[in-house]
């Protein structure tokens, strides 16, 4: 794997499968009474958040702590950043403090790329969401969730998503989740279709490795998984669609529509959900909706990513033996 994780495009098929497999190992830790590995003891992980995102920050924090890393949370609000400090100077500060990894969430697309490629810091950079660009760990946890549901928890080990049909619905234009998912799911062999009103599909989408449709009802029967994206109500005021009700009618997932999906198909949502907008309560609370599982899986995926970025280049097999060794050590 590379030294940083900025884009889902940074990952080869084997990298991605290694992360998913490693996350399965990590998930087993969560089932134990002491949910902690000594793997990153003495390493420092900084959560550098320029944008509020309690969920993502807590997820990364839990992941780093379960690997015994020291975690520093740096929120831009109320910090030197709000006094006008540049990203570069903040990076130099973190470098001076010995950050081994910087998990960055930023409102500007490309900020993590700049941080990783400008020589400001030596540590690994993990993109925790940048502007409307990418959110690769979200895509990984989504792929992990799909693999578990469609292929199986143990049966999935070593496997990708070849031949699976996955539909992404909603505000693709502004969605970093959609961008990362299209790239990663394609790398894993899935067939991806994005569905949205034409106003919420970017100009230039024809170069993406996916199909584009404006008709949700036509795509649903051919979907093994349907990812619903959060649609901000503000988009209505900017004329991306006429009214909330019209959006919900044409692109929202309700019980009737869910019934048209194949029986095994799952419904996904990165959260937080707008109930009644892109998804009805009936769908959100059904067994087929994986939203809560996705949150739990997020910790496992982020543990795997931090471990693989900071813990060296061992293969999944080597890693397995190492966690076994850890387990032995802990029981002794």
């Amino acid at each position: 794997m590379k030294h940083h994780l900025i884009s889902a495009a940074d990952l080869t098929r084997d990298d991605a499968v290694l992360i998913l497999d490693t996350a399965e190992e990590m998930a087993r830790v969560a089932d134990r009474p002491i949910k902690k590995l000594p793997t990153l003891r003495g390493r420092t992980v900084v959560n550098l958040f320029y944008e509020d995102s309690t969920r993502t920050r807590i997820s990364f924090e839990a992941a780093a702590k379960r690997l015994s890393a020291d975690v520093i949370n740096f929120s831009a609000k109320g910090s030197s950043v709000s006094k006008g400090e540049s990203l570069k100077d903040t990076a130099l500060t973190l470098e001076a403090m010995g950050a081994d990894a910087v998990v960055i969430r930023h409102h500007a697309s490309g900020a993590p790329y700049r941080l990783a490629n400008s020589g400001w810091i030596d540590g690994s950079v993990v993109n925790a969401g940048d502007g409307t660009h990418e959110h690769p760990t979200q895509a990984l946890l989504d792929a992990f969730t799909v693999r578990r549901r469609l292929v199986g928890r143990d049966a999935g080990m070593g496997r990708d998503l070849a031949g699976r049909r996955i539909t992404i619905v909603g505000d693709v234009l502004h969605s970093r989740v959609a961008r990362s998912n299209v790239l990663l799911l394609n790398t894993l062999g899935a067939q991806v279709t994005v569905v949205a009103p034409p106003t919420l599909v970017p100009i230039g989408v024809e170069s993406w490795p996916c199909e584009v449709s404006y008709d949700l009802d036509a795509v649903l029967p051919k979907s093994d998984a349907v990812m619903m994206l959060r649609v901000q109500r503000e988009r209505m005021n900017a004329a991306f669609f006429p009214t909330e009700r019209e959006y919900a009618r044409r692109y929202g997932l309700n019980g009737d529509r869910m019934a048209r999906m194949p029986e095994h198909a799952v419904v996904m949502h990165p959260g937080p959900m707008n109930r009644g907008m892109e998804i009805t309560a009936e769908v959100a609370d059904s067994d087929r909706c994986t939203a809560v599982e996705q949150v739990a899986n997020g910790v496992s995926i982020r543990m795997a990513v931090l471990y693989l970025l900071l813990g060296g280049n061992e293969s999944a097999a080597a890693h397995t033996s190492r966690t076994d060794a850890v387990r032995t050590e802990e029981t002794e």
């Binding site: 540049s86 990203l87 570069k88 930023h106 409102h107 500007a108 697309s109 490309g110 900020a111 790329y113 700049r114 941080l115 490629n117 400008s118 940048d130 502007g131 409307t132 660009h133 990418e134 970093r176 961008r179 970017p202 100009i203 230039g204 989408v205 024809e206 170069s207 993406w208």
Partner: protein, 428 residues
């Protein structure tokens, strides 16, 4: 003033001849001239062109002297072969009164490296609401003929119409920064395949083209002159070509960077490539080159936009837009237009000196290399090859996209009314 003999240079790329400068004017052009008491510049293998004229320079003074001053900017201009530049109005304070344009004009005179012709703002404070005192700026010592809110589009159709009409009284021209503001809210780069992947706000070609279409129609309706700044798309070329075919009074410029660079470079997220209008696609670049070659685009203008290091050494979204260009323009034109066979050196003289001087109504610039003409001249060594090193720039800012890139050609001498401002590639 002493005499200078330039020996053996190809005038506008033609056969080698000698040119004698006496005082501020060209005294003689002949196959051989005896030097007598003249200082001799051996120029075999070099090209002699009229001093270059830039219609679009940001000198930043007054207000942002940390990025450029009239002195540093005109030194950069001389180093790039320019003898006259038009200084854009978006300074602090804005050049929207006779007082500010006279200040800039006077600073140019004092610098002595290059004539500075201030551009006046079209509207007060570039706010697009109320016409600035266009007449007073014209009547001032600066004699302003070119007006522009560059950096901002004069988007109110009625204000644009009135401005076009008003400047007819003194043969002025409105230079439009064509950018439909609503279509470019949050715009960070060209809207297309690359922006879709990078998740950066798109600046669609149609935001430029729709304004150009409107403005050529307005100029035709009121019978005035409009000039399109830094035209950047294939569609814009088509509109200007159509307007010219109607006989309408429209002129246009293209920047060197839009002749060479594409939006693929934005994949680096390096803000050195952040510029307005944004870098476009390879298709646009080829259309712009062809349009410059066939005269649809009248001239090359640098849009020299100096910014201090801290405004570029940051994340893309926070970075300032613009790149410096005075010192690399001629090299980029040589690479993209001359070495591709699209333009000969006489064509370069036309697009970088004759036509911009005519659009700006600058007397004494953009003149033939003939006896009796002002000795505003530049000598170019076209065989030179070398990597661009921003540390060598005379400009106070270093935001060049060409750092480390090999570009052809080098300005060896520049003469402003017979006085050398550059000798052997060094500023005097």
């Amino acid at each position: 003033m002493s005499k200078i003999l330039i020996r053996g240079a190809g005038i506008l790329g033609g056969r080698p001849q000698d040119v004698l400068i006496d005082g501020g004017t060209i005294a003689e052009v002949a196959d051989t001239i005896e030097p007598g008491d003249a200082a001799v510049v051996e120029a075999a293998g070099q090209i002699l062109l009229p001093g270059l004229v830039d219609l679009h320079t940001h000198l930043r003074e007054p207000g942002r002297e940390d990025s450029e001053t009239v002195l540093t900017g005109t030194r950069a201009a001389a180093a790039g072969g320019y003898t006259a530049v038009h200084a854009m109005a978006n300074t602090f304070p804005v050049a929207d009164t006779a007082g500010v344009v006279e200040q800039v004009y006077r600073l140019g005179k004092e610098s002595g490296y290059c004539d500075v012709q201030p551009v006046g703002a079209v509207t007060v404070g570039l706010a697009g609401k109320q016409l600035a005192e266009l007449g007073a700026m014209h009547d001032s010592a600066a004699g302003v003929k070119v007006f522009s809110d560059d950096g901002k589009c004069v988007d109110d159709t009625v204000i644009m119409r009135r401005a076009l009409e008003y400047v007819k009284a003194f043969d002025g021209v409105i230079a439009q920064h064509a950018q439909e503001p609503r279509l470019t809210e949050g715009a960070q780069m060209n809207e297309g395949i690359v922006s879709a992947e990078l998740g950066l706000g798109g600046w669609p070609a149609v935001a430029e083209e729709s304004i150009i279409a409107r403005d050529v129609l307005l100029a035709a309706h009121v019978g005035s002159r409009v000039h399109i700044c830094h035209l950047s798309t294939a569609g814009s070329v088509e509109i200007v070509r159509w307007a010219k075919s109607k006989g309408w009074n429209v002129t246009a410029e293209v920047t060197p960077h839009h002749l060479l660079l594409t939006d693929e470079l934005v994949r680096t997220y390096d803000p050195v490539y952040k510029v307005n209008p944004p870098l476009r696609t390879a298709t646009d670049v080829m259309a712009l080159r062809e349009a410059l070659a066939d005269g649809t685009i009248d001239c090359v203008a640098t849009d020299h936009a100096p910014h201090p290091h801290e405004d570029k050494d940051c994340e893309w979204g926070a970075a300032a837009m613009g790149m410096v260009g005075l010192e690399t323009a001629l090299s980029v034109v040589q690479e993209t237009m001359v070495e591709t066979g699209l333009l000969d050196w006489a064509g370069v003289a036309d697009r970088m000196s004759f036509r911009p001087a005519r659009i700006g109504r600058l007397e004494g610039h953009g003149r033939p290399v003939s006896p009796g003409e002002p000795a505003n001249l530049v000598l170019v060594d076209p065989a030179y090859r070398g990597a661009v090193d921003p540390a060598d720039f005379a400009s106070r800012s270093r935001n060049t996209p060409y750092k480390g890139r090999e570009l052809p050609g080098r300005v060896t001498h520049t003469f402003l009314r017979g006085r050398a401002t550059v000798v052997d590639g060094k500023l005097t």
